[in-house]
């Protein structure tokens, strides 16, 4: 099994993810190869919290063009975890 640090790459800090924290749901960019079980374990290990549920989704990179050159941003995988009531993640650390 992957180390927790290899699973969770970084938190997602946006307006949308901030709104989700009101539901005790936290959002991360994860390793595209990681699965929900790995995410649950990693979050519980790293933040010492109880995870109730995990949703994952693949995000395709966007097409970007610079003049005539077409490129794309990298694909990502996001995970949203629901925590037990009362548990918290100081998701804001080291933005």
């Amino acid at each position: 099994m992957r180390s927790p640090y290899d699973v969770l790459l970084k938190p997602v800090i946006t307006e949308k993810s901030m709104d989700l924290t009101a539901d005790n749901k936290y959002t991360f960019i994860i390793n595209p190869d990681a699965n929900k079980i790995e995410v649950k374990y990693a979050v519980e290990q790293l933040f010492k919290v109880k995870v109730l549920d995990v949703w994952t989704l693949n995000v395709k990179g966007k097409k970007k063009r610079m003049g005539k050159f077409v490129g794309r941003t990298s694909d990502r995988k996001k995970a949203i975890v629901k925590l037990r009531d009362g548990d918290k993640i100081e998701i804001f650390e080291g933005v």
């Binding site: 997602v12 800090i13 946006t14 307006e15 993810s17 901030m18 804001f92 933005v95």
Partner: protein, 432 residues
């Protein structure tokens, strides 16, 4: 909000103010609302980032500047009120403790009205000399009137012009028998002795008769403004067309009727004497007041904050500018003409400004020491009088004064007047 006050100089105080955490926090929140609308943080639309994110992204200091702008003036004015400090200048702020989650502590250094230690101001002496109007002074006035109302009368053909007469002439100037520019005129009214023309010209016309043609040999003065003519010998050919002489009416009842509303000379004379008397008395009064104030001020040593002096000098300069404008010159033009900078002109006003500030301070101190106060009725009365002078309804004037914030300066002025009156009332008179 805690604050302490400490005097560091005769005219300077340091206020140390502590703003409690919660008040500081409120200010920070207000500041956050202001700042957040202007900054963009990735992942958030403008104005949507939570405060925590904002602080992490830019550091907590971003909010300090705006928060201080909100809280410091308020805290400062509270402290000023609490300690009855009378600032005369903008304060200098110094942050002692400025950290998130801790009380804000700052020091404000500000110039204040200096404390005036009054010397002896009761029983000052002045000389009361009776004012006397001499017969000559009255006569002088009458003669001035006579001159002002002189009539010009044309002289008959064979009389000669004297100094003081006005002659109408045609003239043409020649230099080496060639006419020069600006040297020609026709039907020119020239008063002999008025020094309108170059020296010698008017003198040379004394004794001419109407219709006479006279050639004048003259030399332009060395400092004449036209360089080619300065110091040059020239010839003027003049033709005298008319001679007029001032005719003075004899000073009698008829004259009195003409120049004034009075019917007889005696009444006019009496009126002139009365006017002179009032003028002299007013001058005398002013002199007494000034000398008493000077004496009271002399005994006081105060160090006046520069800000007060500068402010007064600024006012004086503006007044000066306004007076110049009445003469049709703007202050800027005047400075250009006299090749002065605004600063050097202001420097001229400084000593006078210092005196005037000192005077005011001393008078205020006297008013305070003697509990001289101005009641509302007195202000009403003063406004009513002013209104009459300006021909305006009293309530309109009052509103104007209040709106311009001049009511308090009016009150201060009245207080100062009372202080002066007090000086006079308590002075000992020496009959001179």
């Amino acid at each position: 909000m805690k604050s302490t006050v400490e005097k560091i100089d005769q005219n300077k105080v340091v206020l140390e103010v502590e703003v409690p955490v919660d008040k500081f926090e409120v200010a920070l929140n207000k500041a956050y609302k202001k700042v957040v609308a202007k900054v963009s943080i990735p992942g958030f639309r403008k104005g949507k980032a939570p405060r925590k994110i904002l602080e992490q992204f830019y550091g907590p200091e971003v909010l300090f500047e705006d928060a201080l702008e909100i809280i410091v003036p308020e805290a400062y004015f509270n402290a000023v009120e609490e300690h009855n400090v009378e600032p005369v200048d903008q304060p200098n702020f110094d942050m002692v403790q400025l950290e998130l989650g801790k009380p804000l502590i700052f020091k404000a250094t500000v110039a204040v009205k200096p404390e005036v230690v009054l010397g002896e101001y009761k029983g000052l002496e002045y000389k009361a000399e009776p004012v006397e109007i001499t017969e000559e002074a009255v006569q002088q006035q009458l003669e001035n009137l006579q001159k002002r109302h002189a009539r010009m009368a044309e002289l008959s053909a064979d009389s000669e012009a004297q100094m003081g007469d006005t002659v109408m002439i045609d003239f043409e100037g020649f230099k080496d028998d060639v006419p020069f520019e600006g040297g020609k005129g026709a039907d020119y009214q020239l008063e002999l002795g008025s020094n309108t023309f170059i020296p010698g010209f008017e003198e040379a016309l004394v004794g001419v008769k109407v219709g006479e043609e006279r050639t004048l040999d003259l030399t332009f003065p060395e400092e004449y403004h036209v360089a080619e003519l300065a110091g040059q010998p020239v010839k003027f050919v003049t033709v005298i067309k008319e001679i007029k002489r001032k005719e003075y009416a004899p000073i009698d009842d008829e004259f009195a009727k003409d120049v004034s509303d009075f019917d007889t000379l005696a009444e006019l004379t009496e009126d002139i004497r009365k006017n002179l008397q009032t003028q002299a008395e007013q001058a005398k009064d002013r002199e007494i007041r000034n000398s008493l104030i000077d004496k009271a001020v002399e005994q006081v040593e105060i160090s006046i904050p520069e800000a007060m002096i500068n402010e007064r000098a600024e006012q004086m300069m503006q007044d000066y500018g306004r007076r110049l404008e009445y003469q049709g010159i703007s202050l800027d033009n005047f400075l250009e003409m006299t090749k002065q900078s605004k600063e050097s002109l202001m420097a001229n006003f400084l000593p006078e400004a210092e005196n005037s500030v000192k005077r005011d301070l001393v008078l205020q101190a006297i008013a305070k020491a003697e509990n001289l106060d101005v009641t509302d009725e007195e202000i009403d009365k003063e406004i009513a009088e002013l209104a009459e002078n300006y021909r305006q309804p009293a309530d309109v004037l009052r509103k104007l004064l209040v709106d311009n914030g001049q009511l308090s300066s009016l009150k201060d002025g009245m207080k100062a007047d009372k202080a002066i009156q007090f000086l006079i009332d308590n002075a000992s008179v020496q009959e001179g």
